[in-house]
């Protein structure tokens, strides 16, 4: 029973973790809580349903399901990245040097806009994922693990691994770390800060898209409000691990997923959504810098 909840929690946690990475990367560079990040994840879920529906109508799903799924994933990631890129250019870039309240309000505006844009074009009711994967799975230490769950855990693990490599082993990753440390200095040594910020948004949105696809296929139903709640939870995960810290976001996401699934099973499922907020408040009051974060002194 406990092990079953741990597997469920790990699945959920993997999803939270890859959304949280988007928050933490943007915060690391811009010190902005990108409120609209959760909506990108919601867009990802919707786009996956739309594209897979399209492929089903074209008959591609019937001929080759894996091909249809892969194409859906690629298209969804491209579109979500485009949304992330556009969002930054339209709503945040003009406010780069504005007081800190301005971009935050702007982000809230983008979030409200995207939510209602999807609601108006796709309807307020739940949408079903065109392909059901069912309960098929395998036994692992007397626990049922569905193939989908194993897939989600595997994919999120791999994505985190590759992201880690990207950040630490490539030139671009190095430039990103430099920009996060000090934008002005980074610009002085010849890093194009604007394009680094764009890349950050593109990667973050791409990861959120993957999370959206996985959740849409896992739960089978999505609506236009999932972005807000998942966004807050992923943000909690980012804060829990130490905001601005990528391994922290991964750790925070997994912890949050585990707490939520065990809490729902053993304490109360009605308050499932409240656990994230309670953890958030407690962690901010006890150790605002998070598990892996560093405390920074405020400069006068």
């Amino acid at each position: 029973m406990l092990l079953q909840q741990l597997i469920n929690g790990l699945t959920l946690g993997g999803v939270y973790a890859i959304i949280a990475i988007g928050y933490t990367m943007v915060y690391g560079i811009l010190e902005l809580i990108n409120f609209a990040h959760g909506e990108i994840y919601m867009l990802g879920a919707y786009l996956a349903i739309i594209f897979l529906g399209l492929f089903t109508a074209m008959g591609l799903t019937a001929t080759s399901l894996p091909l249809a799924l892969i194409l859906t994933a690629i298209l969804t990631i491209i579109f979500c990245s485009a949304y992330g890129f556009t969002m930054e250019k339209v709503a945040y870039k003009p406010l780069r040097n504005a007081p800190r309240l301005s971009p935050l309000i702007s982000a809230i505006g983008v979030s409200i806009f995207l939510q209602n844009y999807v609601m108006l074009t796709q309807g307020a009711t739940d949408k079903a994922f065109p392909q059901r994967f069912g309960e098929a799975g395998f036994q692992f230490m007397n626990v049922n693990v569905t193939y989908l769950q194993a897939m989600i855990i595997l994919v999120s693990g791999l994505l985190m691994f590759f992201l880690h490599l990207f950040i630490h082993k490539t030139r671009m990753g190095k430039a990103m770390r430099a920009t996060a440390q000090d934008k002005t200095m980074a610009a002085l040594v010849g890093i194009n800060v604007d394009s680094i910020i764009s890349v950050t948004f593109i990667i973050g949105a791409g990861l959120a898209a993957v999370a959206g696809i996985m959740v849409a296929s896992y739960y089978g139903l999505v609506n236009c409000f999932i972005g807000y709640i998942a966004g807050i939870k992923a943000f909690t995960a980012a804060v829990l691990g130490g905001i601005g810290n990528i391994p922290g976001a991964m750790l925070g996401g997994i912890i949050l997923g585990l707490v939520e699934s065990t809490g729902a099973a053993y304490i109360s499922s009605e308050y499932k959504d409240a656990y994230a907020f309670i953890i958030l408040i407690v962690i901010l009051l006890i150790k605002p810098s998070g598990i892996l974060g560093k405390t920074t002194e405020e400069k006068v």
């Binding site: 301005s102 809230i108 409200i112 806009f113 907020f277 958030l280 408040i281 901010l284 605002p288």
Partner: protein
């Protein structure tokens, strides 16, 4: 070339959601928009928008305020019930905007869960009235002080945090309150809400009729404006503004910043409690749906629209955001969509709001 690429991107983003025709319209629309914007930039219209100074209403005080007050008193005689209803709602939102303005506008503490305190005020009366039959007047101080107490209890630990973190904690608090209201069935009747709340009664006189209730709200709003304006220009108000302008400088000038921040939180949420009891007595029904995150954002939008930190601005902002959706009935569906775009545009083109914050508009983390 660049505008065409941008328009193509916009059309592409639109494609999966609305199909080819809509994407085409989007392409042409964005292209026109971009050329208009570049034209506007050439003619410096945007700079003008940013620089327009709406004269401080105070300058016309002797003329403006009496006219406004007298015409407000006359409204119930000339307007239909529907308009009275809308005016009562704007009164309630004015109270909320004034309260939030104390916290966000004066003191610079971003609060994204203000609807929680509004909910506490509303539910306190709803529960006291339906469970033990307590009247409006006896419940008014209880509602207001419970909301203020909740504000104080949240603020004591939360004020150790700065800027964005404080915003997120208040957001989390707002969600927790809503979840509790939604799930504590025995006390709050869950998602169905509480019905049969009575209108106020004063010495045998009932405010059941909408016109009378309008006057009640009117008097309370006037009272709130007077009190808040007095406090704003008092020692406490000046301390709040000093904290917003520069917290470190304020504390080195001998201001006990924690104490004054607590005052701001308690005083601001007090008005939310009063707005809450007025709301539940007016609707005679409360449910958790009225106190969502969007409600908090709506209240925040009101003070941003009016001009952060500006009491007149808060009133005007609240009034506009309540009246506008009623006027634009046909586009009701697009209300939130427009609010979202509006917030982004406001931040880019006129971050100081309509009236402009009087004493420094910037927010420090």
């Amino acid at each position: 070339m660049k505008p065409i690429l941008i328009a193509l991107l916009a059309a592409l983003l639109f494609l999966p959601f609305k199909g080819l025709n809509a994407a085409g319209i989007m392409f042409i629309g964005v292209l026109t928009l971009l050329s208009t914007v570049s034209l506007l930039k050439k003619t410096k219209v945007i700079d003008v928008i940013k620089a327009i100074r709406i004269p401080e209403i105070g300058r016309f005080r002797t003329f403006f305020i009496p006219v406004l007050l007298i015409s407000s008193l006359a409204f119930p005689f000339i307007l239909k019930d529907y308009y009275i209803d809308v005016l009562i709602m704007s009164g309630i939102y004015i109270l909320l905007a004034l309260g939030l303005n104390i916290i966000v506008g004066f003191t610079g503490l971003l609060n994204l869960g203000f609807a929680a305190f509004y909910a506490i005020g509303a539910y306190t009366y709803a529960i006291l009235n339906t469970k033990i039959g307590l009247g409006f007047w006896a419940s008014l101080p209880i509602s207001a002080s419970l909301a203020a107490l909740a504000g104080l209890l949240l603020a004591i630990p939360a004020l150790r945090l700065r800027g964005d973190y404080l915003a997120i904690v208040t957001l989390g608090f707002g969600e927790i309150v809503r979840l509790v209201l939604n799930n504590w069935d025995s006390l709050t009747n869950g998602p169905n809400g509480i019905t049969g709340i009575s209108r106020p009664l004063l010495m045998g006189f009932s405010f059941a009729q909408l016109e009378y209730y309008y006057y009640l709200v009117f008097v309370i709003v006037i009272f709130a404006v007077v009190v808040i304006k007095r406090v704003e220009s008092s020692r406490i108000g000046r301390a709040w503004i000093a904290i917003k302008e520069n917290e470190i400088a304020a504390s080195s000038m001998g201001i006990n910043t924690t104490k004054y921040k607590l005052y701001a939180f308690t005083f601001g949420t007090f008005w939310a409690g009063i707005a809450g009891i007025l709301f539940s007595a007016k609707m005679q029904f409360v449910s958790p749906e009225s106190f969502t995150f969007m409600e908090s954002i709506l209240i925040l939008s009101m003070i941003i629209l009016g001009g952060i930190g500006n009491t007149h601005g808060a009133i005007i902002g609240a009034f506009i955001l309540v009246i506008l959706p009623e006027v634009l009935r046909e586009v009701q569906l697009y209300r939130m969509l427009i609010l979202g775009i509006g917030l982004v545009l406001l931040m880019i083109f006129r971050p100081q709001g309509i009236l402009g914050g009087v004493k420094g508009v910037h927010f420090r983390s």
